[in-house]
């Protein structure tokens, strides 16, 4: 087929409000529809988007609805690349934040599993953060389309 196809991209920026978590999940799911993902793949991606956006809202912005979260997605061949970023508080100790069950906000009944879930559900996961400047999560995953399963 045509190997030199440019990547298909999208970018969406929205208020850091918890009701937009569902919007974010559905948006990314809709964007990859044409890759014909399995239900499990769709569910995994929705979970990952939810984790990243929830982190940005709760930890990045302390639930300040006047701030914004950005999702950038691109599809290259059968791989989805995702970037979820905020310009909020940033993370002081990334290693600590990434350890399973750790949460900086135990009073909010957070499970501390967000990063662990993202790492487990995606093929590639990278987080960069600067205190006071924000956090950027970059992830990618190859989508094995249903069609491929039949071949």
């Amino acid at each position: 087929m045509n190997e030199t196809r440019a990547a298909n991209t999208m970018r969406v920026t929205f208020s850091a409000r918890s009701e937009n978590e569902a919007f974010a999940r559905i948006t990314v799911a809709a964007f990859i529809t044409h890759l014909d993902p399995t239900l499990d793949e769709l569910n995994d991606l929705k979970t990952v988007v939810s984790e990243a956006v929830t982190n940005a809202i709760i930890h990045g912005y302390d639930n300040d609805p006047s701030r914004f979260v950005t999702i950038e997605a691109s599809i290259e061949d059968e791989t989805l690349h995702l970037i979820v970023s905020d310009e909020g508080n940033g993370i002081e100790d990334l290693e600590l934040a990434r350890s399973p069950l750790y949460t900086s906000k135990p009073e909010l009944e957070r499970s501390g599993m967000g990063f662990t879930i993202m790492e487990n559900f995606m093929d590639r996961f990278e987080v960069t953060s600067e205190p006071g400047r924000g956090t950027r999560i970059e992830m990618s995953k190859r989508i094995e389309s249903k069609k491929a399963l039949f071949n």
Binding site: S18, E19, E21, A22, R25, D40, N43, D44, K46, T47, S50, E51, T54, I57, I58, P100, L101, L108, E109, R110, S111, G112, M113, G114, T116, I117, N120
Partner: protein, 117 residues
Amino acid sequence: MSLQVELEHQRNVLIVRLRGELDHHTADVVRIRMEEAILKSTVEHVILSMKDLIFMDSSGLGVILGRYKQLKAKGGVMAVCDVNKSVYRLLELSGLFKILAVHDNERAALTSLEVVS
């Protein structure tokens, strides 16, 4: 709202049916409704029925863990049933199956709790 919580009391067991999507946005409703119900003296054990739960993320894990602690302080146990594949993976990944019994359906969960009490 994208999540409905249905509560049913069967003797000393509280059955909580979750319908819809459980995330950070909807977690508060689940926490408040369950917290209040578990405070009642008649409630000893809880069954979380997840047949119609179409989405859950780590915010859901947090709420479940919180209610588990509340229930454990009363000496009760918590069970989950009708867990779909993706929710199952989350519970597994987080190690929650070490503290929650998992059953195929509400009937099986109720039967196991009758043995406990």
